[in-house]
């Protein structure tokens, strides 16, 4: 933990770490939203028609 905090103090390294963290976080959220809100059925789309 101490080493982790020390590494954050190093500005250049911290910037890079934060960039990578942001990228990983973004990808995880995209995947999460895709699965949680998307239609996962592989059936052909049903077109609603009036009687």
């Amino acid at each position: 933990m101490k080493r982790f905090i020390n590494s954050l103090k190093n500005k250049k390294a911290a910037r890079s770490l934060l960039s990578w963290t942001g990228i990983f976080y973004f990808l995880m959220m995209v995947l999460y939203l895709y699965f949680i809100l998307g239609n996962l059925s592989n059936a052909p789309k049903f077109v609603y028609t009036q009687f």
Partner: protein
Amino acid sequence: MEKMKAFLLALALFLLTVTGIHIAAGRGVNTDPVFYSGWTDEAKSLSYVGLTLNMQTNMIPVFGSSEFQHGLDTSFHPAAVFRGSDFHPMLIGAGYYQSLSHSVTLAAIEKSLSCRKAVLLLSPQWFRKTGVLPQAYLSRFSEILYGKMLENDALSEKTKDYISDRTCLLLQKDSQTLARAAKRKASVDGNVLPWYEAFLERLWDSFLTEKDSVTIAFRQKTAKTRLEKEESARPSQEGGQSVDAAAGSPDWEALKKAAIAAGDAENQNPFYIDDKAYQRLKPYLPGKKGMNASAKGGYQYGPEFEDLSCFLSVCEETGIEPMLVILPVNGYYYDYTEFPKTAREAYYTKIRQIASQYQVRTADFSDQEYTRYFFEDRVHLGKIGWVMVNEAIYQFFKE
């Protein structure tokens, strides 16, 4: 090493976010049960979490189909009529929901019903020779509801087998869902799954429950905000206040008068449907003249009758008292297409026979084929139609 650190940090943040969403969604599912009961979004009827958590003691499920999405901008739709009343029908269904989907839903949610009653609005158009179309059934299929139906111990093996067989037949276009549905049934039938498959199944169920909860909370919040905005912008509707504040019951006579007055005020047409619907239909009318003259056996054969019997079996086995609402066809329009009156009568008789066989109550509107303004368009309930059906549902709840 740096990327590993970043990944772990991102994972921690991600888990924190997901936990936050989980808590917020859990709280957001049942913030307003009255709104939920009258909400007609298609996603609502697929949500086990939403339906069970919002079911209150003064609610009964009312199963139907596309009619729920018609008349929403009038004071005669159930969502408007029962607002402020002492009763709220939990509207379940949208276009192409039919008896089989409703059997699954009722069996899945029946334990959440404190008032052991249910209403099924029967559209004659369900009873075409084909029954429910496979792609339509698939689009209205909820894996969670299906799973909960199978877990319901009150249901007989025979009923579960019937639902399961029909479901597998109708899910052919979605091989993955079909495989999971078949596996669930096999699991209920006593097939022991290897530990890893059982674990994966539990994980999948947890994921589906989370998906259900987040989706329904999000859509409900969006719909409610939109409705509030629309209502604040809209002038007061025709019909005015419909609920007797002292009794908590809608004033049916006032609503009927308002419905007839609203119908009279519109441009008249030969089918006594809403002017907007008539204008949409008008260009196609020449092609519709006499188109159903040969439908002598119309609405009398097909798998929907078996599916209806299945729904009534679910009611019988779970101790739910059902009421079948026999909706009529639009007599003026059906005469225009020359759909035989004998076929219509035979259909109503067949439904009455099934009701009598299961000894269930009916609200029979088959004599309203020629009631003006009963329909909004060719097939969907309109002004006076909604008022009469709402009144029947209310009386059923009160008795």
